[in-house]
Amino acid sequence: MTQDAAGASKFSRRVAIAGTQHLGGAIHLLRVRFPEIAASALPGQFVEVKASEGSDPLLPRPFSVNQVDAHRQTFAFLYEALGCSTRQMAQKAAGDELLVTGPLGKPYPLEPDVCDEVVFVAGGLGIASFLFAAQTLKERGDPRPVRLLYGARSAESIVLTGEFERLGVRCEVATDDGSLGEKGLVTGLLERYLASDPRNPALYVCGPAPMLKAAAGIAEARGARCFLSLETYMGCGMGVCVGCTIKMKTGDGPDDFEYQRACVDGPVVDAARLIW
Protein backbone atom coordinates (compact mmCIF):
# COMPACT_ATOMS: atom_id res chain seq x y z
CA MET A 1 0.00 0.00 0.00
CA THR A 2 1.38 3.38 -0.91
CA GLN A 3 -1.34 5.60 0.48
CA ASP A 4 -0.20 8.63 2.40
CA ALA A 5 -0.78 9.12 6.08
CA ALA A 6 -3.50 11.73 5.92
CA GLY A 7 -5.54 10.59 2.94
CA ALA A 8 -8.83 8.92 3.75
CA SER A 9 -9.70 6.19 1.26
CA LYS A 10 -12.30 4.49 3.45
CA PHE A 11 -15.26 6.13 5.11
CA SER A 12 -17.40 5.29 8.10
CA ARG A 13 -20.42 7.07 9.52
CA ARG A 14 -24.09 6.84 10.36
CA VAL A 15 -26.15 7.48 7.26
CA ALA A 16 -29.87 7.63 6.62
CA ILE A 17 -31.64 5.01 4.55
CA ALA A 18 -32.63 6.61 1.25
CA GLY A 19 -35.06 3.89 0.26
CA THR A 20 -35.92 0.23 0.54
CA GLN A 21 -37.45 -2.17 -1.91
CA HIS A 22 -38.82 -5.67 -1.38
CA LEU A 23 -37.73 -7.87 -4.28
CA GLY A 24 -39.40 -11.16 -3.37
CA GLY A 25 -39.16 -13.83 -0.70
CA ALA A 26 -37.09 -12.36 2.11
CA ILE A 27 -34.90 -10.42 -0.32
CA HIS A 28 -34.70 -6.67 0.01
CA LEU A 29 -32.73 -3.89 -1.64
CA LEU A 30 -31.57 -1.07 0.61
CA ARG A 31 -30.23 2.22 -0.69
CA VAL A 32 -28.19 4.66 1.38
CA ARG A 33 -26.85 8.11 0.60
CA PHE A 34 -23.08 7.95 0.97
CA PRO A 35 -21.42 9.90 -1.88
CA GLU A 36 -17.81 9.05 -0.96
CA ILE A 37 -18.47 5.32 -1.09
CA ALA A 38 -20.72 5.58 -4.15
CA ALA A 39 -17.97 7.47 -5.97
CA SER A 40 -15.05 5.21 -5.13
CA ALA A 41 -16.43 1.67 -4.78
CA LEU A 42 -15.46 -0.92 -7.38
CA PRO A 43 -17.39 -4.07 -8.33
CA GLY A 44 -16.72 -6.92 -5.90
CA GLN A 45 -16.06 -4.57 -3.01
CA PHE A 46 -18.28 -4.56 0.03
CA VAL A 47 -19.38 -2.40 2.92
CA GLU A 48 -19.79 -3.25 6.59
CA VAL A 49 -23.24 -2.37 7.92
CA LYS A 50 -24.40 -2.22 11.52
CA ALA A 51 -28.17 -2.17 11.78
CA SER A 52 -28.61 -2.50 15.55
CA GLU A 53 -28.08 0.38 17.93
CA GLY A 54 -27.33 -1.96 20.78
CA SER A 55 -24.76 -4.68 21.21
CA ASP A 56 -26.72 -7.71 20.02
CA PRO A 57 -25.85 -8.29 17.27
CA LEU A 58 -22.59 -6.56 18.05
CA LEU A 59 -20.56 -6.56 14.87
CA PRO A 60 -21.42 -4.97 11.53
CA ARG A 61 -22.04 -7.41 8.66
CA PRO A 62 -20.49 -7.41 5.18
CA PHE A 63 -22.69 -6.68 2.15
CA SER A 64 -21.57 -6.35 -1.45
CA VAL A 65 -22.20 -3.14 -3.30
CA ASN A 66 -25.07 -4.06 -5.61
CA GLN A 67 -25.51 -0.88 -7.60
CA VAL A 68 -24.51 2.74 -7.60
CA ASP A 69 -26.70 5.55 -8.90
CA ALA A 70 -25.71 7.45 -12.01
CA HIS A 71 -24.61 10.51 -10.05
CA ARG A 72 -22.72 8.41 -7.55
CA GLN A 73 -24.49 9.89 -4.55
CA THR A 74 -26.16 6.72 -3.29
CA PHE A 75 -25.48 3.03 -3.50
CA ALA A 76 -27.58 -0.02 -2.77
CA PHE A 77 -27.00 -3.47 -1.37
CA LEU A 78 -29.12 -6.57 -1.45
CA TYR A 79 -29.90 -8.69 1.59
CA GLU A 80 -32.01 -11.61 2.66
CA ALA A 81 -33.73 -11.07 6.02
CA LEU A 82 -32.82 -14.38 7.64
CA GLY A 83 -30.37 -13.67 10.46
CA CYS A 84 -30.44 -11.29 13.37
CA SER A 85 -28.96 -8.20 11.64
CA THR A 86 -30.85 -8.62 8.43
CA ARG A 87 -34.17 -9.09 10.22
CA GLN A 88 -33.53 -5.84 12.07
CA MET A 89 -32.76 -4.16 8.75
CA ALA A 90 -36.08 -5.30 7.38
CA GLN A 91 -37.86 -3.38 10.17
CA LYS A 92 -36.18 -0.14 9.14
CA ALA A 93 -37.69 2.48 6.88
CA ALA A 94 -36.35 5.38 4.85
CA GLY A 95 -34.85 7.95 7.20
CA ASP A 96 -33.72 5.42 9.80
CA GLU A 97 -29.97 5.26 10.34
CA LEU A 98 -27.35 2.60 9.68
CA LEU A 99 -23.64 2.67 10.46
CA VAL A 100 -21.83 2.04 7.17
CA THR A 101 -18.11 1.57 6.45
CA GLY A 102 -16.47 1.14 3.09
CA PRO A 103 -15.50 0.56 0.40
CA LEU A 104 -13.71 -2.57 1.54
CA GLY A 105 -11.90 -5.48 -0.05
CA LYS A 106 -10.37 -6.34 -3.39
CA PRO A 107 -12.58 -5.84 -6.46
CA TYR A 108 -13.09 -8.31 -9.32
CA PRO A 109 -10.26 -8.18 -11.86
CA LEU A 110 -12.32 -6.98 -14.80
CA GLU A 111 -9.50 -5.51 -16.88
CA PRO A 112 -9.62 -6.36 -20.60
CA ASP A 113 -6.37 -8.34 -20.44
CA VAL A 114 -7.79 -10.89 -18.03
CA CYS A 115 -10.07 -12.65 -20.48
CA ASP A 116 -12.11 -12.39 -23.65
CA GLU A 117 -15.44 -13.46 -22.22
CA VAL A 118 -16.79 -12.34 -18.84
CA VAL A 119 -18.87 -14.98 -17.09
CA PHE A 120 -20.66 -14.24 -13.82
CA VAL A 121 -21.70 -17.34 -11.93
CA ALA A 122 -24.13 -16.63 -9.12
CA GLY A 123 -25.71 -18.88 -6.52
CA GLY A 124 -28.60 -17.37 -4.55
CA LEU A 125 -27.70 -14.06 -2.94
CA GLY A 126 -24.32 -14.40 -4.67
CA ILE A 127 -26.02 -12.37 -7.40
CA ALA A 128 -25.57 -9.29 -5.19
CA SER A 129 -22.17 -8.21 -6.47
CA PHE A 130 -22.60 -8.77 -10.20
CA LEU A 131 -25.06 -6.07 -11.17
CA PHE A 132 -22.53 -3.41 -10.23
CA ALA A 133 -19.89 -5.31 -12.22
CA ALA A 134 -22.10 -5.41 -15.30
CA GLN A 135 -22.95 -1.71 -14.92
CA THR A 136 -19.29 -0.85 -14.65
CA LEU A 137 -18.33 -2.80 -17.77
CA LYS A 138 -21.11 -1.06 -19.67
CA GLU A 139 -20.02 2.39 -18.42
CA ARG A 140 -16.46 1.68 -19.44
CA GLY A 141 -17.68 0.75 -22.90
CA ASP A 142 -16.09 -2.65 -22.55
CA PRO A 143 -16.83 -4.54 -25.78
CA ARG A 144 -16.48 -8.08 -24.42
CA PRO A 145 -19.49 -10.40 -24.21
CA VAL A 146 -20.89 -10.72 -20.66
CA ARG A 147 -22.84 -13.74 -19.52
CA LEU A 148 -24.65 -14.54 -16.27
CA LEU A 149 -25.21 -18.08 -15.06
CA TYR A 150 -27.58 -17.81 -12.12
CA GLY A 151 -28.98 -20.50 -9.84
CA ALA A 152 -31.30 -20.28 -6.86
CA ARG A 153 -33.79 -22.34 -4.87
CA SER A 154 -36.88 -21.17 -6.75
CA ALA A 155 -38.33 -18.45 -8.95
CA GLU A 156 -39.00 -16.30 -5.88
CA SER A 157 -35.28 -16.04 -5.15
CA ILE A 158 -34.30 -15.03 -8.69
CA VAL A 159 -34.00 -11.27 -8.69
CA LEU A 160 -32.76 -8.43 -10.87
CA THR A 161 -32.50 -10.46 -14.10
CA GLY A 162 -34.36 -7.67 -15.92
CA GLU A 163 -31.60 -5.21 -14.98
CA PHE A 164 -28.92 -7.56 -16.28
CA GLU A 165 -30.74 -8.02 -19.57
CA ARG A 166 -31.13 -4.28 -19.96
CA LEU A 167 -27.33 -4.05 -19.68
CA GLY A 168 -26.96 -6.55 -22.49
CA VAL A 169 -25.93 -9.43 -20.27
CA ARG A 170 -26.96 -12.85 -21.55
CA CYS A 171 -28.72 -14.56 -18.63
CA GLU A 172 -29.24 -18.26 -18.03
CA VAL A 173 -31.18 -19.32 -14.98
CA ALA A 174 -31.51 -22.59 -13.08
CA THR A 175 -33.70 -23.30 -10.04
CA ASP A 176 -33.65 -26.28 -7.70
CA ASP A 177 -37.36 -26.81 -8.20
CA GLY A 178 -37.52 -25.84 -11.86
CA SER A 179 -39.93 -23.00 -11.11
CA LEU A 180 -37.85 -20.71 -13.33
CA GLY A 181 -35.32 -21.55 -16.04
CA GLU A 182 -33.77 -24.95 -16.03
CA LYS A 183 -34.37 -27.40 -13.19
CA GLY A 184 -31.03 -28.07 -11.54
CA LEU A 185 -27.93 -26.40 -10.23
CA VAL A 186 -26.00 -23.47 -11.61
CA THR A 187 -23.00 -25.76 -11.94
CA GLY A 188 -24.95 -27.61 -14.61
CA LEU A 189 -25.21 -24.39 -16.60
CA LEU A 190 -21.49 -23.85 -16.08
CA GLU A 191 -20.53 -27.35 -17.24
CA ARG A 192 -22.53 -26.91 -20.41
CA TYR A 193 -21.13 -23.45 -21.05
CA LEU A 194 -17.53 -24.60 -20.71
CA ALA A 195 -18.26 -27.69 -22.81
CA SER A 196 -19.16 -25.29 -25.63
CA ASP A 197 -15.47 -24.35 -25.76
CA PRO A 198 -15.73 -20.59 -25.25
CA ARG A 199 -12.78 -18.41 -26.22
CA ASN A 200 -10.58 -17.49 -23.22
CA PRO A 201 -13.31 -16.95 -20.65
CA ALA A 202 -12.91 -15.93 -17.01
CA LEU A 203 -15.37 -17.05 -14.40
CA TYR A 204 -16.38 -14.73 -11.56
CA VAL A 205 -18.20 -16.81 -9.01
CA CYS A 206 -20.18 -15.83 -5.92
CA GLY A 207 -22.46 -17.99 -3.81
CA PRO A 208 -22.50 -20.56 -1.03
CA ALA A 209 -19.24 -22.39 -0.27
CA PRO A 210 -20.17 -25.79 -1.78
CA MET A 211 -21.11 -24.08 -5.04
CA LEU A 212 -17.84 -22.10 -5.07
CA LYS A 213 -15.91 -25.30 -4.53
CA ALA A 214 -17.77 -27.11 -7.29
CA ALA A 215 -17.34 -24.21 -9.70
CA ALA A 216 -13.61 -24.02 -8.96
CA GLY A 217 -13.30 -27.75 -9.65
CA ILE A 218 -15.10 -27.46 -12.98
CA ALA A 219 -12.98 -24.46 -13.96
CA GLU A 220 -9.79 -26.28 -13.10
CA ALA A 221 -10.82 -29.35 -15.10
CA ARG A 222 -11.55 -27.14 -18.10
CA GLY A 223 -8.53 -24.89 -17.61
CA ALA A 224 -10.61 -21.72 -17.25
CA ARG A 225 -9.53 -18.79 -15.09
CA CYS A 226 -11.73 -18.59 -12.05
CA PHE A 227 -12.17 -15.89 -9.41
CA LEU A 228 -14.17 -16.62 -6.30
CA SER A 229 -15.87 -14.07 -4.08
CA LEU A 230 -15.77 -15.59 -0.60
CA GLU A 231 -18.39 -15.01 2.09
CA THR A 232 -16.05 -15.63 4.98
CA TYR A 233 -17.12 -14.93 8.55
CA MET A 234 -15.63 -11.54 9.40
CA GLY A 235 -14.74 -9.56 12.49
CA CYS A 236 -13.58 -6.12 11.40
CA GLY A 237 -13.89 -6.39 7.62
CA MET A 238 -10.89 -4.12 7.17
CA GLY A 239 -7.83 -6.21 7.79
CA VAL A 240 -7.02 -5.57 11.43
CA CYS A 241 -8.40 -8.51 13.44
CA VAL A 242 -6.90 -11.31 11.32
CA GLY A 243 -9.98 -13.33 12.15
CA CYS A 244 -11.20 -14.03 8.61
CA THR A 245 -8.18 -15.95 7.46
CA ILE A 246 -8.13 -18.23 4.46
CA LYS A 247 -5.36 -20.63 3.49
CA MET A 248 -3.58 -19.55 0.33
CA LYS A 249 -0.87 -21.44 -1.59
CA THR A 250 2.54 -19.85 -1.74
CA GLY A 251 4.15 -22.76 -3.57
CA ASP A 252 3.59 -26.40 -4.32
CA GLY A 253 4.84 -28.06 -1.10
CA PRO A 254 2.38 -29.21 1.61
CA ASP A 255 3.61 -26.48 3.95
CA ASP A 256 3.77 -23.78 1.30
CA PHE A 257 0.79 -21.74 2.44
CA GLU A 258 0.01 -18.66 4.40
CA TYR A 259 -3.04 -17.37 6.23
CA GLN A 260 -4.39 -14.40 4.36
CA ARG A 261 -7.20 -12.10 5.31
CA ALA A 262 -10.37 -12.69 3.30
CA CYS A 263 -11.41 -9.07 3.84
CA VAL A 264 -8.40 -7.30 2.37
CA ASP A 265 -6.57 -10.02 0.43
CA GLY A 266 -10.08 -11.03 -0.77
CA PRO A 267 -13.02 -11.36 -0.81
CA VAL A 268 -12.19 -11.99 -4.48
CA VAL A 269 -9.44 -14.59 -4.80
CA ASP A 270 -7.92 -16.61 -7.59
CA ALA A 271 -9.46 -20.08 -7.22
CA ALA A 272 -6.15 -21.66 -8.21
CA ARG A 273 -4.46 -20.37 -5.06
CA LEU A 274 -7.15 -21.15 -2.48
CA ILE A 275 -6.70 -24.16 -0.21
CA TRP A 276 -10.11 -25.34 1.00
Binding site: S55, L59, G243
Partner: protein, 309 residues
Protein backbone atom coordinates in the same frame (compact mmCIF):
# COMPACT_ATOMS: atom_id res chain seq x y z
CA UNK B 1 -19.99 24.60 26.96
CA UNK B 2 -16.40 25.56 27.20
CA UNK B 3 -14.88 22.46 25.64
CA UNK B 4 -12.00 24.71 24.61
CA UNK B 5 -10.85 24.85 28.22
CA UNK B 6 -10.57 21.11 28.63
CA UNK B 7 -7.05 19.73 28.44
CA UNK B 8 -7.04 15.97 27.92
CA UNK B 9 -3.31 15.53 28.48
CA UNK B 10 -2.77 12.34 30.45
CA UNK B 11 0.27 11.08 32.29
CA UNK B 12 0.79 7.35 32.77
CA UNK B 13 3.85 7.48 34.95
CA UNK B 14 6.63 8.79 32.69
CA UNK B 15 4.52 8.49 29.57
CA UNK B 16 2.59 11.58 28.50
CA UNK B 17 -0.34 11.23 26.11
CA UNK B 18 -2.36 13.95 24.39
CA UNK B 19 -5.51 12.23 25.65
CA UNK B 20 -6.42 9.10 27.61
CA UNK B 21 -7.72 7.07 24.67
CA UNK B 22 -5.59 4.31 23.16
CA UNK B 23 -6.44 1.52 20.80
CA UNK B 24 -5.99 -1.99 22.20
CA UNK B 25 -3.52 -4.54 20.94
CA UNK B 26 -4.79 -6.87 18.24
CA UNK B 27 -7.74 -4.69 17.32
CA UNK B 28 -5.89 -2.01 15.38
CA UNK B 29 -3.12 -4.00 13.68
CA UNK B 30 -0.29 -1.52 13.03
CA UNK B 31 -2.46 1.50 12.29
CA UNK B 32 -2.32 1.43 8.51
CA UNK B 33 -5.94 0.39 7.91
CA UNK B 34 -7.39 2.91 10.35
CA UNK B 35 -5.21 5.67 8.89
CA UNK B 36 -7.43 5.36 5.82
CA UNK B 37 -10.37 6.41 8.01
CA UNK B 38 -9.03 9.12 10.31
CA UNK B 39 -5.91 10.94 11.38
CA UNK B 40 -4.14 8.71 13.89
CA UNK B 41 -2.76 11.81 15.62
CA UNK B 42 -6.19 12.10 17.23
CA UNK B 43 -5.31 9.14 19.45
CA UNK B 44 -3.54 9.22 22.81
CA UNK B 45 -1.60 6.11 21.87
CA UNK B 46 -1.68 3.10 19.60
CA UNK B 47 -0.90 -0.30 21.07
CA UNK B 48 0.18 -2.49 18.19
CA UNK B 49 -0.64 -6.15 17.61
CA UNK B 50 1.20 -8.64 19.85
CA UNK B 51 4.73 -8.95 18.48
CA UNK B 52 7.10 -11.86 19.02
CA UNK B 53 10.78 -12.45 18.25
CA UNK B 54 10.06 -14.74 15.31
CA UNK B 55 7.12 -14.59 12.87
CA UNK B 56 4.09 -16.67 13.89
CA UNK B 57 1.60 -18.16 11.53
CA UNK B 58 -1.25 -18.14 14.03
CA UNK B 59 -4.06 -20.63 14.59
CA UNK B 60 -6.01 -22.30 11.82
CA UNK B 61 -9.45 -20.86 11.04
CA UNK B 62 -12.19 -20.53 12.25
CA UNK B 63 -10.63 -17.97 14.55
CA UNK B 64 -13.50 -15.72 15.57
CA UNK B 65 -17.13 -16.10 16.53
CA UNK B 66 -19.72 -13.60 17.63
CA UNK B 67 -21.50 -14.16 20.96
CA UNK B 68 -24.12 -12.19 22.89
CA UNK B 69 -22.73 -8.64 23.06
CA UNK B 70 -19.24 -9.93 22.46
CA UNK B 71 -16.91 -12.02 20.37
CA UNK B 72 -14.51 -14.89 20.83
CA UNK B 73 -11.13 -14.82 19.13
CA UNK B 74 -8.30 -17.29 18.87
CA UNK B 75 -5.97 -15.61 16.43
CA UNK B 76 -2.93 -17.25 17.97
CA UNK B 77 -0.79 -14.13 17.74
CA UNK B 78 -0.21 -14.27 13.99
CA UNK B 79 2.51 -11.66 13.38
CA UNK B 80 5.58 -11.10 11.25
CA UNK B 81 8.02 -10.80 14.15
CA UNK B 82 9.79 -7.84 15.73
CA UNK B 83 12.25 -7.25 12.86
CA UNK B 84 9.43 -6.83 10.38
CA UNK B 85 7.73 -4.52 12.87
CA UNK B 86 10.78 -2.28 13.07
CA UNK B 87 11.48 -2.28 9.34
CA UNK B 88 7.99 -2.22 7.87
CA UNK B 89 5.44 -1.06 10.41
CA UNK B 90 7.13 1.42 12.72
CA UNK B 91 8.22 3.93 10.05
CA UNK B 92 4.58 4.34 8.98
CA UNK B 93 3.43 4.92 12.55
CA UNK B 94 6.13 7.48 13.22
CA UNK B 95 4.48 9.96 10.88
CA UNK B 96 1.71 10.54 13.40
CA UNK B 97 1.69 12.71 16.48
CA UNK B 98 0.71 9.92 18.84
CA UNK B 99 2.43 7.41 21.11
CA UNK B 100 3.38 3.95 19.94
CA UNK B 101 3.24 1.15 22.48
CA UNK B 102 4.48 -2.27 21.42
CA UNK B 103 2.65 -5.28 22.82
CA UNK B 104 5.31 -7.96 23.27
CA UNK B 105 4.81 -11.67 23.66
CA UNK B 106 7.22 -14.55 24.21
CA UNK B 107 7.43 -18.11 25.43
CA UNK B 108 9.94 -17.53 28.21
CA UNK B 109 11.07 -14.60 30.34
CA UNK B 110 14.28 -14.50 28.29
CA UNK B 111 12.32 -13.93 25.09
CA UNK B 112 10.46 -11.00 26.62
CA UNK B 113 13.78 -9.53 27.77
CA UNK B 114 15.27 -10.02 24.31
CA UNK B 115 12.30 -8.25 22.72
CA UNK B 116 12.68 -5.43 25.23
CA UNK B 117 16.37 -5.07 24.40
CA UNK B 118 15.65 -4.92 20.68
CA UNK B 119 12.85 -2.40 21.10
CA UNK B 120 14.79 -0.35 23.65
CA UNK B 121 16.92 1.03 20.85
CA UNK B 122 14.00 1.81 18.55
CA UNK B 123 13.23 5.48 18.04
CA UNK B 124 9.50 5.99 18.04
CA UNK B 125 8.65 3.18 20.40
CA UNK B 126 7.30 4.99 23.45
CA UNK B 127 6.52 2.10 25.76
CA UNK B 128 6.12 -1.67 25.94
CA UNK B 129 3.00 -3.52 26.95
CA UNK B 130 3.92 -6.96 28.24
CA UNK B 131 1.33 -9.46 27.09
CA UNK B 132 1.56 -12.23 29.64
CA UNK B 133 -2.11 -12.95 29.42
CA UNK B 134 -2.96 -14.12 25.94
CA UNK B 135 -5.21 -17.11 26.42
CA UNK B 136 -4.83 -18.43 22.89
CA UNK B 137 -1.27 -19.69 22.77
CA UNK B 138 0.28 -22.59 24.55
CA UNK B 139 2.55 -20.70 26.87
CA UNK B 140 0.19 -17.82 27.53
CA UNK B 141 -2.21 -18.15 30.33
CA UNK B 142 -1.07 -21.09 32.38
CA UNK B 143 2.55 -20.25 32.80
CA UNK B 144 2.74 -16.55 33.42
CA UNK B 145 -0.69 -15.13 33.94
CA UNK B 146 -1.88 -17.69 36.45
CA UNK B 147 1.13 -17.47 38.71
CA UNK B 148 2.14 -14.20 40.43
CA UNK B 149 5.78 -15.20 40.80
CA UNK B 150 6.09 -16.07 37.10
CA UNK B 151 4.49 -12.70 36.38
CA UNK B 152 7.12 -11.07 38.59
CA UNK B 153 9.91 -12.91 36.78
CA UNK B 154 8.82 -11.74 33.33
CA UNK B 155 8.25 -8.14 34.34
CA UNK B 156 11.52 -8.08 36.24
CA UNK B 157 13.40 -9.41 33.20
CA UNK B 158 11.85 -6.77 30.96
CA UNK B 159 12.51 -4.05 33.52
CA UNK B 160 16.20 -4.96 33.53
CA UNK B 161 16.32 -4.91 29.73
CA UNK B 162 14.86 -1.48 29.09
CA UNK B 163 14.34 1.87 30.73
CA UNK B 164 11.32 2.56 28.55
CA UNK B 165 7.95 2.63 30.33
CA UNK B 166 6.56 -0.89 30.69
CA UNK B 167 2.93 -1.88 31.17
CA UNK B 168 2.22 -5.54 31.95
CA UNK B 169 -1.20 -6.57 30.67
CA UNK B 170 -3.12 -8.72 33.12
CA UNK B 171 -5.43 -11.65 32.63
CA UNK B 172 -8.92 -11.58 34.14
CA UNK B 173 -8.95 -15.38 34.41
CA UNK B 174 -7.63 -15.38 37.96
CA UNK B 175 -9.03 -15.51 41.47
CA UNK B 176 -7.59 -12.17 42.57
CA UNK B 177 -6.14 -9.83 39.96
CA UNK B 178 -4.74 -7.50 42.64
CA UNK B 179 -2.09 -10.03 43.57
CA UNK B 180 -0.77 -9.91 40.01
CA UNK B 181 -0.92 -6.13 39.85
CA UNK B 182 1.13 -5.92 43.05
CA UNK B 183 3.71 -8.34 41.64
CA UNK B 184 4.04 -6.07 38.61
CA UNK B 185 4.38 -3.00 40.79
CA UNK B 186 7.13 -4.67 42.81
CA UNK B 187 8.95 -5.65 39.64
CA UNK B 188 9.06 -2.00 38.63
CA UNK B 189 6.23 -1.73 36.12
CA UNK B 190 5.20 1.81 35.24
CA UNK B 191 1.52 0.90 35.00
CA UNK B 192 -0.74 -2.13 34.49
CA UNK B 193 -3.16 -2.68 31.61
CA UNK B 194 -6.32 -4.66 32.27
CA UNK B 195 -8.15 -6.66 31.23
CA UNK B 196 -7.23 -9.06 28.50
CA UNK B 197 -9.96 -11.42 27.33
CA UNK B 198 -11.92 -13.93 29.42
CA UNK B 199 -11.53 -17.51 28.24
CA UNK B 200 -14.68 -18.84 26.62
CA UNK B 201 -16.03 -21.20 24.01
CA UNK B 202 -19.02 -21.79 21.76
CA UNK B 203 -20.44 -24.83 20.00
CA UNK B 204 -22.32 -25.21 16.73
CA UNK B 205 -25.19 -27.51 17.67
CA UNK B 206 -25.87 -28.28 14.02
CA UNK B 207 -22.43 -29.73 13.31
CA UNK B 208 -21.71 -30.53 17.01
CA UNK B 209 -18.30 -28.94 16.63
CA UNK B 210 -16.58 -26.12 18.45
CA UNK B 211 -16.94 -22.77 16.72
CA UNK B 212 -13.18 -22.16 16.95
CA UNK B 213 -10.46 -24.44 15.67
CA UNK B 214 -8.57 -23.68 18.88
CA UNK B 215 -11.57 -24.93 20.96
CA UNK B 216 -11.40 -21.96 23.35
CA UNK B 217 -10.89 -18.29 22.61
CA UNK B 218 -10.78 -14.92 24.28
CA UNK B 219 -14.09 -13.21 25.01
CA UNK B 220 -14.15 -9.45 24.44
CA UNK B 221 -16.65 -6.66 23.90
CA UNK B 222 -19.48 -5.07 25.91
CA UNK B 223 -20.37 -8.40 27.55
CA UNK B 224 -17.17 -8.29 29.63
CA UNK B 225 -17.41 -4.64 30.63
CA UNK B 226 -18.89 -5.23 34.12
CA UNK B 227 -16.07 -7.66 34.95
CA UNK B 228 -13.38 -5.35 33.56
CA UNK B 229 -14.77 -2.36 35.42
CA UNK B 230 -14.81 -4.28 38.70
CA UNK B 231 -11.21 -5.42 38.23
CA UNK B 232 -10.04 -1.91 37.33
CA UNK B 233 -11.77 -0.53 40.42
CA UNK B 234 -10.24 -3.17 42.69
CA UNK B 235 -6.77 -2.83 41.18
CA UNK B 236 -6.73 0.96 41.27
CA UNK B 237 -7.28 0.71 45.01
CA UNK B 238 -4.58 -1.94 45.48
CA UNK B 239 -1.59 -0.41 43.69
CA UNK B 240 -0.01 3.03 43.43
CA UNK B 241 0.97 2.75 39.75
CA UNK B 242 -1.59 3.86 37.15
CA UNK B 243 -4.14 1.46 35.75
CA UNK B 244 -5.08 1.41 32.07
CA UNK B 245 -8.68 0.23 31.73
CA UNK B 246 -9.72 -2.14 28.94
CA UNK B 247 -12.84 -4.19 28.27
CA UNK B 248 -15.99 -3.50 26.32
CA UNK B 249 -15.41 0.18 25.71
CA UNK B 250 -17.43 1.27 22.67
CA UNK B 251 -18.66 4.74 23.62
CA UNK B 252 -17.43 7.76 25.58
CA UNK B 253 -19.89 6.82 28.34
CA UNK B 254 -18.11 3.48 28.71
CA UNK B 255 -14.73 5.22 28.86
CA UNK B 256 -15.93 7.67 31.52
CA UNK B 257 -17.11 4.73 33.65
CA UNK B 258 -13.56 3.35 33.60
CA UNK B 259 -12.04 6.72 34.48
CA UNK B 260 -14.46 7.08 37.38
CA UNK B 261 -13.54 3.56 38.52
CA UNK B 262 -9.90 4.62 38.72
CA UNK B 263 -8.36 4.09 35.28
CA UNK B 264 -5.86 6.76 34.23
CA UNK B 265 -6.36 5.93 30.58
CA UNK B 266 -8.42 3.48 28.53
CA UNK B 267 -8.03 1.23 25.52
CA UNK B 268 -10.63 0.60 22.86
CA UNK B 269 -10.52 -2.95 21.51
CA UNK B 270 -13.52 -4.70 19.99
CA UNK B 271 -15.15 -1.26 19.90
CA UNK B 272 -12.98 -0.52 16.85
CA UNK B 273 -14.83 -3.26 14.98
CA UNK B 274 -18.27 -2.24 16.21
CA UNK B 275 -17.77 1.34 15.09
CA UNK B 276 -14.51 2.11 13.26
CA UNK B 277 -14.74 5.74 14.39
CA UNK B 278 -15.18 4.71 18.04
CA UNK B 279 -11.77 5.86 19.29
CA UNK B 280 -11.84 9.46 18.00
CA UNK B 281 -15.53 9.73 18.97
CA UNK B 282 -14.60 8.67 22.50
CA UNK B 283 -11.91 11.36 22.69
CA UNK B 284 -14.49 13.98 21.75
CA UNK B 285 -17.09 12.46 24.07
CA UNK B 286 -14.81 12.60 27.10
CA UNK B 287 -14.03 16.20 26.31
CA UNK B 288 -17.75 16.97 26.11
CA UNK B 289 -18.50 15.17 29.38
CA UNK B 290 -15.86 17.21 31.20
CA UNK B 291 -16.87 20.48 29.56
CA UNK B 292 -20.55 20.05 30.43
CA UNK B 293 -19.56 19.76 34.07
CA UNK B 294 -17.09 22.62 34.04
CA UNK B 295 -14.16 20.26 34.55
CA UNK B 296 -10.78 20.79 32.92
CA UNK B 297 -8.99 17.48 32.95
CA UNK B 298 -9.58 13.73 33.06
CA UNK B 299 -7.81 13.78 36.42
CA UNK B 300 -10.88 15.57 37.80
CA UNK B 301 -12.86 12.36 37.48
CA UNK B 302 -10.30 9.56 37.77
CA UNK B 303 -11.30 7.34 40.67
CA UNK B 304 -14.08 9.73 41.72
CA UNK B 305 -16.90 7.19 41.87
CA UNK B 306 -18.95 7.12 45.06
CA UNK B 307 -21.19 4.56 46.74
CA UNK B 308 -24.81 4.46 45.68
CA UNK B 309 -26.10 5.04 49.22
Amino acid sequence: MTAGRVDLTTRIGRLTLSNPVMTASGTFAFGREFAELYDLSLLGAIVVKGTSLEPRRGNPPPRIFETASGMLNAIGLQNDGVRSFLDEKLPFLRQFDTRVIVNIVGNRAGEYAELARILHDAQGVDALEINISCPNVEHGHAEFAGDPSATFTVVDAVRKATSKPILPKLSPNVTDIRVFARACEEAGADAVSLINTLVGTAIDIRTRRFRLANVTGGLSGPCIKPVALRMVYQTAQAVRIPVVGIGGIVTAEDAVEFLLAGATAVQVGTGNFVNPMAAPEIVEGIKGYLAERGLNSPSDIIGKVEKAI
